[in-house]
């Protein structure tokens, strides 16, 4: 069973991303939405956490949320894929279930 995990808070405010990456199985997908998108940026103290996650799971970031917060794709950690809402919907159908880390 492959899970699509969603994370909606920054790794500085909550431990949701850290926990998500800890318990996610290899092959799962993690989608960063809302304030969760900040974790996708290079140069933050969370970068190593995210990079280590990338070795195990696929990481996506919701483009509209990134753009709203003033960041462009050129500041993303390499390996993170940008999706829009259509991509978000597709991810939920491609994986067996959705698990929200609130």
């Amino acid at each position: 069973m492959s899970i699509l995990h969603t994370v909606n808070k920054t790794p500085f405010e909550r431990n949701s991303l850290e926990s998500c990456l800890k318990y996610a199985s290899p092959g799962a997908a993690v989608l960063l939405i809302e304030d969760g998108v900040y974790a996708a940026l290079v140069g933050s103290s969370a970068e190593s956490l995210v990079k280590s996650g990338l070795g195990k799971v696929s990481v996506y970031v919701l483009g509209p949320d990134l753009k709203a917060r003033g960041f462009r794709e050129d500041r993303l950690i390499e390996g993170i894929q940008v999706v829009d809402y259509a991509g978000f919907v597709d991810l939920t159908t491609e994986h067996d279930k959705v698990q929200a880390w609130l």
Binding site: N8, D35, T92, T93, K97, V98
Partner: protein
């Protein structure tokens, strides 16, 4: 695919309702079915018809209502959570001795069983919260 949507937060305070709206709208436009949108915790506050948001910003309640009208969506508000937070329909007003009701007609108040049923009947439960 058939979706059940759970929204845990009220309008404006959190982005949850906005994200849920765009997810739901996109899923419907792609031809998926949305079995039910269930509002829980402060999410019940998405169902009041009495909001007057500033003109230059989105109208969260009406946006949901318009989507529900277009796609005949079942938008359910949990009765226990609604009672706690003062979301009232005519029936609840009479039963609980309230002098007014405030729910938008596109939403209906019902029990938590509706959320559980939605999770059973749908292919995917997607939760939006804090």
């Amino acid at each position: 695919m058939k979706f059940a949507i759970q929204i845990n937060e009220g309008p404006y305070q959190h982005q949850a309702s906005d994200t849920a709206y765009f997810f739901t709208k996109t899923a419907l436009e792609k031809g998926h079915e949305v079995f039910r949108v269930f509002f829980y915790h402060d999410g019940v506050n998405n169902s009041t018809r009495l909001t007057t948001p500033p003109q230059d910003d989105r109208h969260v309640v009406n946006r949901w209502a318009d989507l529900a009208e277009k796609y005949d969506l079942d938008m359910v508000v949990c009765v226990a959570a609604a009672q706690r937070r003062g979301i009232v329909d005519e029936g609840e007003a009479q039963r609980n001795g309230k002098d007014a009701s405030n729910i938008h007609p596109r939403f209906r108040i019902s029990g938590l069983g509706q959320l559980v049923e939605a999770a059973i009947q749908s292919d995917r439960l997607v939760v939006f919260g804090d």
